[in-house]
Assembly symmetry: C2
């Protein structure tokens, strides 16, 4: 069995810069997979070495099961990705923040010894409307929303209503909500148009949508939007919209000192040779006695398989026998969002000196939602722009033009010093063939109510994981982790 | 090169019954593909031997190009399928009818010497509402719609409005319609609820939707619905909703004596050894000089490839280099409808003796829209029930129960003689891994306006065909044929 080398543990770029310090703990002695000549045998085969798959593998390994993880990419971490910065720092090009009620990711970080730090949320945020720049207190009374009198009444009414409606959506079975059929027959855009007065509200909502979903309100059903909100909590604390969008007290509260990919890098380190990179899975065969999972590098025979990949990727694997129609039709209706992160690196976080928090809400693009992503020690500066939905479609074909446009926006927002970044990084998740988009799938009208349990119901010996199967923090790192535990528990309980 | 045998030309079931008379004409001498040892070379490789792919291959062959067609199934015809009946007759288990303005399919039928006959549209149709059966004249003043006074005002208003709005949707670029963004931000269901008074109207509309789209109004955007109507015509005659749903003067006007699959069987016969069955394509590689298409049976090197498969299947092929993001995201947003045909065969069309046309509109399922599908000579009787959308999801897992339920419906609609069919056939297109649904893709909000030309724009040497790319009779056999011609013209013109 090939050992997972240090080279394989970090992205090529990270290693080239020699920046990421990794301390992979090799797996303690335990039952490992056996076999030879291109085929190995294990208790469980896991497809996908993102947070969901690695958590599943970690859980199963701890329970004494032998596990093989097959990962298509030459790195682990899925939709998290560390990009090396000078001084040993990293930029998060994928999932970045954690916040309250995200208990699983917090516990895992503690277990792995990964430190977090507070997202800066002091100073003035920038609101850019109709070509006019104003500022307002970050983390103030309006949460992240700009105190624009033409939008605040709309926003407060809509958020109150969304929170209220979301409470009637059971996170484990959204299709059983009493209004499920009505809410799943319309787009969120339709509902928003009906419940807002000001066109500016819809522009700001679209800005938030672009960043939250990598999409537009037309692309998701009202039921999916409400379920997404309902999932933004835990067993004790019902989800709220505010918890999705807030920094303090919300999903953008803390970052990882070593980058969010370090969660996966550490787990993979502990799993050692159980993780096989550059092994895209092409075929899954299921018999009465087991499963056979064929990748381009090796095949695995196991009792159970956990498929920890987004539904739109799972659909591209050949299954023998074919999956039930409801599962296949569900995967046909589970497209990924379109999200690009653009990050500019500066010698220092100069905007802080001007009393700016780095946060932006803009009604024009490409970047409509921005954040300060300066490393923990503040030894260099980082600004992030989310480019999602229609803006990502507009700019996705020309990343160089996008860099120029975003830097020009930063100059408008933060002043002339923003014109000279030391580096600008573009991460377009739709161009990654092993993600096909980000941050999460966008379920349009019908998808949640039509095929229902197909979203996560095991098919014989096949179990589904990934944040797209999560019932808390659906679409987030926390959801990926709980989904991996749930899938592992299914296998252990079967 | 393996010859296309008579065995391969018909479905196994058809051959087993020895019922289908085929007269394949072997290809006249001409440039054929060359090569050996699992790899062949041709000018053009066509993926998919449905109407689109075979038409493309036929057009290119006529222009002197060498062509190889790779088909995943062990038969040709895609979403058309002949099922043998006693006496040499056939039942159409897929695409069935042709009608006015479907000029391409009519011309092809004439070219291939295939006879058509009129769909019966005389006598009384059955309307089943709230458990009460009434009858009304088939093909009367209301077209196919039941003359229910609680729905007629709604229906006439809605159809008038749909026809009117559809005229502003350019068939070749629906995203340029002046209201495109608004219409593509809502579901058809949202629009219908706003423009109807009676809940019964929505039930009857849903019945029509189930049969037309294999879906529900929530699954498609208003823009897609209007475009679909706009496409139901030709260059001289703008599309109308009536032409979609009518028998006389509409898309259900005529049937093929030998079944609609005979179009493909004849074309494949003429193409002879150029058509390779049981050859699912797994990978398409494109270089500056050509394409390489790898199937499970053989690989083809060619100057161009025409991919004549539904987008949701094209998405499952590996492309090297990967397709542009806009194309991939479009295919993630192009799910197939869910449609089942249930056909009961009787010793004779006994309902005709009672003055019934065989047509049904029912507000309860599983079958909500039914037709007489008796063969041309009336020597035996056939009744068809469309089971689509939510009804297909409800019944798709138990085809035996579905047979029983549909026959019970036929007894309710047509009397006790319906209780004893000689045969009941269920064709569930979603269970077919090489279709994944029928009759057509269902484009939800956003799909048509977001990725736009990706629906049919060539990618280098790759050209897209299939009824999902058609600009007239989108979703119909006629659209498949014109798409094949258009793709062939792209290759010939390049």
């Amino acid at each position: 069995m090939p050992e997972l080398s240090r080279r394989q543990l970090v992205s090529g770029a990270a290693l080239a810069a020699g920046a990421v310090v990794l301390r992979p703990t090799l797996a303690a002695a335990g039952p490992g997979p056996t076999g030879g000549a291109g085929t190995v045998t294990a208790d469980v085969v896991v497809v996908g070495a993102g947070l969901a798959g690695l958590t599943a593998a970690r859980t199963l390994t701890a329970a004494g099961r032998s596990v093989v993880v097959l990962e298509a990419r030459d790195r682990v971490g899925g939709r998290t990705l560390n990009h090396p910065l000078p001084g040993g720092h990293v930029a998060d090009l994928g999932g970045t923040w954690i916040g309250p009620t995200q208990n699983a990711v917090a516990a895992l970080a503690a277990e792995l010894g990964l430190a977090t730090f507070e997202q800066v949320d002091v100073g003035q945020a920038v609101y850019y409307r109709d070509g006019v720049r104003t500022t307002y207190p970050s983390g103030g009374a309006t949460g992240g929303a700009p105190p624009d009198p033409t939008i605040l009444p709309d926003l407060l009414a809509v958020i109150t209503l969304v929170d209220e409606m979301s409470k009637s959506v059971p996170v484990g079975a959204p299709w059983t909500a009493s209004n499920a059929e009505e809410w799943d027959s319309q787009t969120f855009d339709t509902w928003l148009r009906e419940h807002t007065v000001s066109p500016q509200t819809r522009k700001v909502a679209s800005a938030a949508f672009n960043a939250l979903f990598g999409g537009e309100g037309r692309e998701i059903s009202l039921l999916y939007a409400l379920w997404y909100v309902a999932c933004a909590g835990d067993e004790q604390n019902p989800g709220t919209f505010e918890r999705l969008i807030d920094v303090q007290g919300g999903a953008q509260e803390r970052r990882f000192v070593d980058g969010a990919q370090s969660l996966s890098l550490r787990m993979a380190g502990a799993l050692g040779g159980r993780v096989h990179l550059s092994a895209p899975v092409r075929k899954v065969t299921q018999t009465a006695n087991g499963v056979q999972v064929a990748s381009e590098r090796l095949s695995v025979t196991a009792s159970h398989a956990i498929l920890a990949v987004p539904p739109t990727l799972a659909a591209r694997i050949e299954f023998d026998p074919p999956l039930p129609t409801s599962r296949d039709h569900y995967t046909q209706r589970s497209p990924q969002g379109r999200l690009i992160k653009v990050e500019a690196i500066y010698a220092r976080p100069f905007w802080r000196e001007a009393g700016l928090s780095g946060a932006v809400v803009s009604d024009t693009g490409p970047g409509k939602i921005c954040y300060d992503v300066t490393p923990a020690d503040g030894s260099l500066g980082g600004l992030l722009a989310f480019v999602g939905g229609d803006e990502a479609r507009r700019w996705g074909d020309d990343h160089e033009a996008l860099k120029t446009a975003v830097v020009a926006q930063f100059v408008t927002f933060f002043g002339p010093q923003a014109a000279s970044p030391s580096e600008v990084v573009v991460q377009d998740w739709s161009d990654e063939v092993w993600s096909r988009g980000a941050p999460v799938h966008l379920l349009g009208p019908g998808a949640l109510t039509q095929d229902r349990e197909a979203i996560w119901a095991p098919v014989g010996r096949l179990h589904w994981a990934g944040t797209e199967t999560a019932t808390f923090w659906h679409g987030y790192m926390d959801g990926a982790i709980t989904s991996g535990r749930r899938a592992a528990a299914e296998v252990l309980g079967s």
